[in-house]
């Protein structure tokens, strides 16, 4: 009887007037048991308010204790973030790892990193590109030095690859288009190097970027690669690094950033200026886009017979929210 009349009684009195300070709910009562929607909603709001008050009071108390303790207070608890809770990936590269260093000295990018080759990039699209994609290609070619845009007029990739190799191109970028927006990127290192297939999203052209600066100049930009920790991330990072010539021109003060966060690679292109030795200002020029790796293939582009080093398998790899592969 007590429990039955408790919620009924308190609901009945509080139809109009504001809620009392402390609401006494019988212990086994839950707001979801009330059948009437209006009353249930009302009780829920009241319950929520009470929770908030308690939380605030608890916070205040904790703060007071902390101040009272002064120096002896326990260190502040670090909030959990997804990056903190990330499932440890066994392929994480240790900076001092010799095996990795040896691998990198002998893989396909070694000639680039030993300064034997100068990157020369060919940018192209899928068939019949629409205006947005075309403009994006042009802007991309201003960002990447020594790059050329050629239109694919129905040519098969398998046939243009030998031609590119013959003309000394080191990399091939194919931007795939769907419904008038670019949505995929295939990056292929040419003399039989690895091919990476990305899904591209949130592409912003130069005119859509707010507060942008002037056009990117011809100077060779610097490259920043952030957060490529695992072995796979390392190889992808090296692929990106090999797009740009090895000696950046610091006079140009331009920097291209590939920042990996939770398997999304954000590309930005900025101009920086050092206002003092502790402060730097950056101004975004150039297009921006985000990439997500879909597959990495050992040889050049070959969808049927290629040897895949890594494919994103949704059912196996997307099971945990805290597991990332790059």
């Amino acid at each position: 009887a007590g429990e039955g009349s408790g919620p009924g009684g308190s609901a009945a009195e509080d139809g109009g007037p504001p809620a009392p300070e402390r609401v006494l709910f019988p212990p086994t009562f839950s707001v979801s048991e009330i059948k009437n929607k209006q009353r249930r909603h009302f009780m829920f709001l009241r319950w929520k308010q009470q929770q908030r008050k308690e939380k605030l009071a608890a916070k205040k108390k904790r703060r007071k204790e902390r101040e009272a303790l002064g120096d002896k207070a326990p260190p502040k608890a670090v909030p959990k973030t997804i990056e903190n809770q990330r499932v440890y990936d066994e392929t994480t590269v240790d900076p001092n790892d010799e095996e990795v260093a040896f691998d990198e000295a002998t893989d396909e990018f070694a000639p680039y990193f030993n300064r034997q080759t100068v990157p020369k990039i060919l940018i192209t699209t899928s068939d019949r590109p629409r205006g947005r994609t075309v403009r994006f290609c042009e802007q991309l070619s201003t960002v990447i030095p020594n790059s050329h845009v050629y239109y694919r007029r129905g040519l098969a990739l398998k046939r243009i690859i030998p031609q590119c190799i013959a003309r000394d191109f080191t990399d091939l970028i194919v931007i795939n288009e769907d419904r008038k927006i670019p949505n995929g990127l295939v990056l292929s290192h040419l003399p039989n190097g690895p091919t990476a297939h990305f899904r591209m999203s949130s592409v912003r052209l130069r005119k859509e970027i707010k507060r942008k600066g002037k056009e990117p100049t011809e100077h060779v930009p610097e490259v920043i690669l952030n957060n490529f920790t695992t072995r796979l991330g390392h190889s992808v990072g090296r692929m990106f690094a090999s797009l740009f010539p090895h000696d950046p021109q610091f006079v140009g003060r331009q920097v291209a950033t590939f920042h990996n966060q939770r398997d999304y690679i954000f590309f930005r292109f900025h101009r920086y200026i050092f206002k003092s030795e502790k402060k730097v200002g950056i101004q975004e020029l150039g297009p921006r886009f985000t990439l997500k790796l879909r597959s990495l293939q050992k040889g050049t582009f070959d969808s049927k017979f290629g040897e895949y080093e890594w494919i994103h398998k949704r059912r196996e790899m997307d099971t945990s929210r805290r597991k990332f592969h790059l």
């Binding site: 610091f250 006079v251 050092f274």
Partner: protein, 288 residues
């Protein structure tokens, strides 16, 4: 009785194969020769009828005669036509000999059209074909949301700025940027260190001795770092005294590239050096 069929189904009452549009009536029957709903093209309303149909790339001639009207299972007789176009036309002719002109003509027309589209199919399969991959809505939404969250977590601007400052500290930029306070402090520290004991690194000593006399400092350093492409541009700037070095550096920079509206102008804000002429115009900085 074909007339009766036509009078009921074709014209007056409901025919389930019939599709009416504003200008025309179509017939959905698979044995129809022309595809239109006419007295002469209705397979139900004609007891003697023929069609061409293709199956898996091969064309067949289907015929229906009055004799077999009571036997629905055996109603349509099927003849395989040869792959050769002319031979197949002859076969049609010899099978439909003594048949009405209309049906013969329409059969041949239909056969021609079918062969043409079969040729096109074969040609297209040799070319590259677009593979249509269906998007899964839930997954797309999930990816988008995760990307937004990752963007927020990334704090790109901060990360880039931190990285650039790191590189500045580690001296990857060499001598382009003169931050006198920083250099002065460093020089002071090194001076003290030196006075206590001999420092290990020779480089530090070199820089130390050089920096004490501001005039010659940078020219010596420049000779060490000779692989920078832009050294010739900056040599002039770094040979002067400290004050003028900055002035010239900022001027040479602004001459060297396209003038920036952004943070370019406010470079030396904190330094109290008097410029008598050629003061930099104080434009507002654009937030980076």
């Amino acid at each position: 009785s074909s007339q009766v069929v036509w009078d009921t189904l074709g014209n007056r009452q409901f025919c389930s194969y019939k599709i009416t549009t504003k200008t025309q009536n179509f017939c959905r029957n698979e044995y129809n020769l022309t595809g239109l709903c006419n007295r002469s093209s209705c397979p139900l309303a004609n007891s003697q009828y023929a069609t061409i149909r293709e199956e898996k790339g091969r064309c067949y001639l289907y015929m229906k005669t009055i004799e077999r009207a009571p036997f629905p299972r055996r109603l349509w007789e099927r003849v395989l036509l040869s792959k050769n176009y002319e031979k197949a036309l002859e076969e049609i002719d010899e099978n439909l000999i003594y048949w009405p002109r209309f049906i013969r003509h329409k059969c041949k027309q239909r056969f021609t059209k079918i062969t043409q589209y079969l040729i096109r199919i074969r040609k297209l399969t040799l070319k590259r074909q677009r593979k249509l991959v269906p998007l899964r809505r839930k997954i797309e939404r999930r990816e988008k949301r995760r990307e937004e969250k990752a963007l927020i977590a990334a704090q790109l601007d901060n990360a880039i700025e931190k990285e650039l400052l790191e590189r500045l500290k580690q001296d990857t930029y060499g001598d382009i940027y003169n931050f006198p306070i920083h250099a002065f402090d460093k020089a002071l520290q090194q001076q003290e260190a030196e006075s206590e004991s001999e420092s290990d690194a020779e480089k530090e000593e070199d820089e130390d001795t050089d920096k004490r006399e501001f005039v010659e400092a940078n020219s010596d350093e420049e000779s060490d770092l000779s692989d920078f492409e832009d050294m010739d541009k900056l040599e002039t700037s770094s040979e002067e005294e400290e004050e003028e070095a900055e002035k010239q550096a900022s001027h040479s920079k602004s001459k060297g590239k396209t003038p920036l509206k952004g943070p370019a102008r406010r470079k030396r804000r904190y330094i109290e050096i008097e410029y008598e002429e050629e003061t930099e115009p104080t434009t507002k900085t654009k937030a980076a």
